[in-house]
């Protein structure tokens, strides 16, 4: 029984089936991007164990598929079992061994990247200094209390995922409890028009919330737009502090409890760095007489007080800044501010990927392995033909 199982797991037949399914998943995962957007399609087809493809407009799923995780795992098992049971090491098979080790490394490396890599955005205007980058997807509710001029601010942060309608949140540093009344994944806020919105009460009783309404939006899936979450919470200390509207579009609001001021912000999750970048200058060139971008470039000043580093760096397409385990890539450049006069804005993509080196290694191994194997085939083939030709 067990030997049967091993035979199955090590078989070439399984390899061929897995490769075929791989073709199918990648194909449908590509098609899925047109309706779901890149991020959702990735989650659905490649970062999953099982997937199914639903044609545009169909009510029920049509093509069931194994997900990327399942296929990757099975391929790794298939390869490992085959090498431990079926394969015998010989020099003539060294190329195949190298190739397969490289493939395993690539698959594991991709998994590690999936688990460990973090992407965020650092966006600033010319002259601004940032020592943090912001998540492009996740938001957090933050309460800040300024603790005098010499000490650090007291900060309490609550991830947006915990803001579920009806939830009641307490934090010992906060002199009040939070009750979530409404929460939206994606919403726009606008000023409440007293006449037109006469049948809609303001979003909240306190702060700017008393003057706005929240319009829920369908969650966006495209690459170039992002969800802006919103919520309505009620704060209750010794007495009720009223309801407050939160939105990624709002600046900070202030709530006073027993004489101390707390600032209230709903903002992208921040990742602080032990160093700071200052945007000195943005350059945006197009080819003469066209709109084709020729160059996007940000000149930044990098300062690290601990290591006493202070230098200027240019970040542009295909030339990122690698520093402190992070890589900073030129990502976007504000267009409206680019005309003569205004301050330029720049957004850098910040990536931390501890396993970045595995694909390089894997690629070298597979490349060399394939080359060795096929060169051996070729020389054998030519040697065999020679006598005939002569």
């Amino acid at each position: 029984m067990i030997s049967k199982l091993f035979q199955f797991l090590s078989s070439l037949r399984l390899t061929v089936v897995l490769l075929g399914l791989g073709v199918a998943v990648v194909f449908f995962g590509t098609l899925g991007q047109t309706s779901d957007g890149l991020y959702v399609a990735q989650e659905r087809y490649f970062r999953s164990w099982f997937a199914y493809w639903t044609p545009h407009g169909a009510a029920f799923p049509v093509v069931p598929l194994p997900g990327g995780y399942l296929l990757g795992t099975m391929l790794v098992i298939n390869l490992l079992v085959a090498h431990f049971t079926r394969f015998k090491w010989t020099w003539s098979k060294s190329g195949i061994f190298l190739t397969h080790i490289g493939i395993i490394l690539l698959l594991l490396g991709q998994l590690a990247t999936d688990m460990l890599a973090r992407e965020s955005i650092m966006s600033f205007r010319e002259g601004d200094t940032r020592n943090y980058s912001e998540s492009s997807m996740d938001f957090e509710l933050v309460f800040l209390r300024s603790a005098g001029s010499n000490t650090l601010d007291q900060v309490v942060s609550i991830p947006a995922s915990r803001l579920k309608p009806g939830a009641e949140l307490r934090q010992e540093l906060l002199p009040f409890a939070i009750r979530v009344k409404e929460a939206y994944e994606n919403a726009r806020i606008r000023l409440r028009a007293p006449v037109m919105d006469s049948n809609r009460p303001p979003a909240a009783t306190q702060g700017v919330g008393a003057r706005i309404v929240i319009d829920e939006q369908p969650p966006t899936r495209t690459m170039d737009a992002r969800n802006v979450p919103a919520a309505v919470i009620e704060l209750s200390g010794p007495s009720s502090l009223g309801t407050w509207a939160l939105s990624g579009e709002l600046k900070s609001q202030t709530v006073t409890v027993e004489g101390t001021e707390w600032r209230l912000e709903y903002r992208p999750v921040r990742d602080y760095k032990p160093f700071a970048l200052t945007l000195l200058k943005t350059t945006h060139e197009t080819y003469p007489g066209t709109d084709i971008p020729k160059n996007f470039q940000s000149r930044v000043r990098l300062r690290n007080t601990e290591s006493h580093e202070d230098r200027e760096v240019d970040i542009y397409m295909n030339s990122p800044l690698r520093y402190g385990g992070y890589t900073f890539f030129q990502y976007q450049m504000g267009k409206e501010q680019l005309a003569d006069g205004g301050r330029g804005t720049s957004a850098l993509q910040v990536v931390r990927n501890p396993s970045w080196v595995t694909p390089y290694l894997g690629c070298i191994l597979v490349g060399v392995g394939l080359l060795v194997q096929f060169l051996m085939h070729l020389t054998k083939f030519i040697a065999r033909r020679k006598p005939r030709a002569a």
């Binding site: 078989s11 070439l12 037949r13 390899t15 061929v16 490769l19 075929g20 073709v23 990648v26 194909f27 995962g29 590509t30 098609l31 991007q33 047109t34 957007g37 890149l38 399609a41 990735q42 490649f46 690539l106 991709q110 990247t113 890599a117 992407e119 690459m223 060139e285 197009t286 080819y287 003469p288 007489g289 066209t290 084709i292 971008p293 020729k294 160059n295 397409m317 295909n318 990122p320 890589t327 890539f329 005309a339 003569d340 006069g341 993509q349 990536v351 970045w356 694909p359 390089y360 894997g362 690629c363 597979v366 490349g367 394939l370 080359l371 194997q373 096929f374 085939h377 070729l378 033909r385």
Partner: protein, 671 residues
């Protein structure tokens, strides 16, 4: 005689090709010299000849202008060069407007615009129409329908053939208008005299302008109106964003300082940036300091001497003064040389030579002829036929290679920079592989595959070239010769190899099923070829794909982003690996491998073209309905071939025992 025939035939073709390199002589107007003059368009420096050919190709799908399209070729219709057409359009638009250069095919579009039906007697061929035939109402209709389509069908996959034809015609008309206003406003009668008039109004006008801006006392309204009247005329031409004609007077090779004619004309008075600012053109506002500087400079800048040269050429051509025109062109050339534009002039001269040589259309013809000779070899096994085919393919390969090198030299780039050049390069790679196969097997199979792929990719490239300039500048993210030279070249070679394997398999099925040519030996050697090529394809597509990942890691910090194009390349790798493993596992034999390899054609075409049509991701070029139809037809044809391949071999003409096809030994070669 038969032994010499291959060389004689090849030599004849070689003479034909060399003939195209002979310098063209202009009996009257110096169109050749005019065509070499440099302009900047699509962000790159190019000869007028390229601008003319690319524009005309965009408008009428050919790079020459047939002025009497209703005449058959034997009636000798008047055909002029693209350069002559462009020069006429720029300087005598009233003449060019009567020429039938707009190609309109869609019947509904013709009906909407009330264009005449074919009628040779009246000079109508039912396909080509002149600007005048559209009339004012036609123009308006096209403009309105296009806007309607663009607003209501934003997603280009929703558009039907009529919509695309409408948008295509609208784009062609826009381009036509831009060109019309390149040298001077389209209603100009005597350009040099007009410029002189304008320059006379500048001193008084500028004085009035400055008095007005500083608010110091009264100013001469008439003088201001007069100079402004001129300036506005030139300003209006800028709206169409015509090509940049005027090199910086300081010289040098940088293209960013080139100006449009309108900008150069505005320099001595207000200057284009300030005028845009004052006229509140969106996104052209100046900061207060820049505006003040602009006002201070009003009336202080000289008029570029190049303007006068262009005016002389335009006026002479308009007045049909052959000698005057030729002198003016020579004068401008001398001026350009004095600007230290030597490098640019060299480049435009070579690009003009490349254009007139048209290497890829010549190789396409060679591939057809060579294919016929290789077929001839199978049906009577005459070695001279194969040799002829071989030499012709070798000749075509040399021309193909030279064409690629010329493009690389002109662009300063590795061979593949866009879809057009990928088609050329896939053809080149496939022909190279075919020649290698032929050197081993000498059975004309490698030649047949080389010629079929070589010709097909030229057809694809030709259709892609209808979109206009094939050497457009690269976006910032692609602006890296290292990755273009490694990732792109290797991945494209992977495509080429996969196609070669697929077409070898097609030969196996077609020759085996329909003819008695396929012997057991030939089948075995075909299957060896497919296997060898597949190994090569796997290596190249894998390494190319991973190099793409590394490029992405270097540019975006993401090794693998599941972008459609990346996925397409990955599918090719997976598919090739699948075929190899199926063979090693003994799951498929000769015929099975062939069928899998034919499916590889579908996989490769999906990766090459299909992923670009999805409209998502980094490699998206938008939906092209023509390409989509072509892709579907190709996929359908491959499915039919696979279906044929699935029919048991007993039913094939070559392998059926009844006809004895397989038993028949190949006749001894005639040589």
């Amino acid at each position: 005689m038969k032994q010499r025939l291959p060389l004689i035939i090849t030599a004849l073709f070689a003479f034909w090709i060399l003939g195209a390199l002979r310098p063209q002589r202009d009996p009257e107007y110096a169109f050749g010299a005019f065509g070499r003059l440099p302009v900047v368009f699509n962000g790159r420096l190019q000869p007028v000849d390229s601008l003319a050919r690319n524009s005309l190709t965009r408008i009428r799908e050919k790079d020459t202008a047939n002025l009497e399209p209703a005449k058959a070729w034997y009636e000798r219709p008047k055909i002029i060069s693209a350069t002559e057409w462009l020069l006429t359009l720029m300087t005598r638009p009233e003449v060019a407007d009567g020429w039938k250069v707009f190609r309109v095919d869609h019947p509904e579009l013709k009906a909407m615009l009330k264009l005449p039906e074919p009628n040779p007697a009246a000079g109508e061929d039912g396909k080509h129409y002149s600007w005048n035939q559209f009339g004012e109402t036609g123009l308006k209709q096209i403009e309105e329908s296009s806007r309607n389509i663009q607003e209501n069908k934003k997603d280009s996959s929703l558009r039907n053939a009529f919509d695309n034809a409408t948008l295509g015609l609208y784009e062609a008309m826009t381009l036509y208008l831009r060109l019309k206003n390149t040298v001077h406003p389209q209603d100009t009668v005597r350009f040099a005299a007009e410029i002189a008039d304008y320059q006379k109004t500048i001193p008084a006008g500028v004085k009035a302008f400055q008095q007005r801006m500083t608010g110091s006392g009264t100013f001469d309204t008439n003088a201001l109106t007069e100079v402004f009247g001129h300036a506005e005329r030139y300003f209006v031409t800028l709206r169409g964003e015509p090509p940049l004609l005027i090199p910086p007077a300081s010289g040098g090779d940088a293209t960013f300082a080139w100006q449009r004619m309108g900008e150069a004309l505005l320099d001595p008075s207000f200057g284009a940036p300030l005028l845009k600012h004052l006229m509140r053109v969106p996104k052209a506002e100046l900061s207060p300091e820049a505006a003040a500087e602009g006002i201070r400079l009003v009336g202080t800048r000289p008029l570029s001497p190049a303007v006068g040269h262009w005016a002389a050429m335009a006026d002479a051509f308009r007045e049909s003064q052959v000698a005057g025109f030729n002198t003016a062109v020579a004068g401008y050339q001398t001026y350009l040389e004095s600007l230290r534009l030597g490098k640019a002039l060299n480049k435009t001269a070579r690009e003009q030579l490349y254009n007139s040589f048209a290497p890829f259309s010549k190789t396409a013809s060679l591939y057809i002829v060579a294919f016929l000779f290789s077929c001839g070899f199978w049906f009577n096994f005459a070695e001279w036929s194969r040799k002829t085919s071989l030499h012709l393919v070798q000749l075509a390969f040399v021309v193909h290679t030279l064409g690629l090198i010329a493009r690389m030299w002109l662009e300063g780039r590795p061979p593949v920079t866009n879809l057009y050049s990928s088609a050329i390069f896939i053809g080149w790679g496939a022909v190279g592989l075919g020649l290698i196969l032929e050197s081993f097997w000498k059975n004309a199979i490698g030649l047949a595959v080389a010629t079929v792929i070589g010709f097909s990719t030229q057809v694809v490239a030709h259709n892609l070239a209808l979109g206009g300039d094939t050497m457009v500048m690269l976006q910032a993210v692609l602006d890296t010769n290292f990755w273009l030279a490694t990732h792109v070249v290797i991945v494209t070679l992977g495509y080429a190899a996969t196609y070669v394997a697929g077409f070898l398999a097609i030969l196996y099925v077609v020759l085996g099923f329909f003819t008695k040519v396929m012997t057991g030996d030939m089948g075995k050697s075909l299957s060896r070829m497919v296997y060898g090529i597949l190994c090569f394809a796997t290596l190249f597509s894998f390494v190319g794909t991973v190099l793409g990942g590394i490029w992405a890691d270097q540019s975006w910090g993401r090794f693998w982003g599941w972008d459609p194009k990346e996925n397409g390349a990955l599918i090719i790798v997976l598919w090739n690996a699948l075929i190899l493993h199926a063979r090693w596992g003994g799951m498929v034999r000769e015929r099975g491998i062939m069928n899998l390899a034919i499916f590889g054609n579908i996989v490769t075409s999906w990766s090459w073209f299909g992923t670009n049509l999805l409209g998502v991701g980094l490699h998206s070029y938008g939906f092209m309905s023509g390409a989509f139809t072509a892709l579907m037809v190709f996929v359908g044809s491959q499915c039919v071939l696979i279906a044929l391949g699935l029919i048991p071999q007993a039913k094939w003409r070559s392998f059926s025992a009844a006809t004895g096809g397989a038993a028949k030994a190949p006749a001894a070669s005639a040589a």
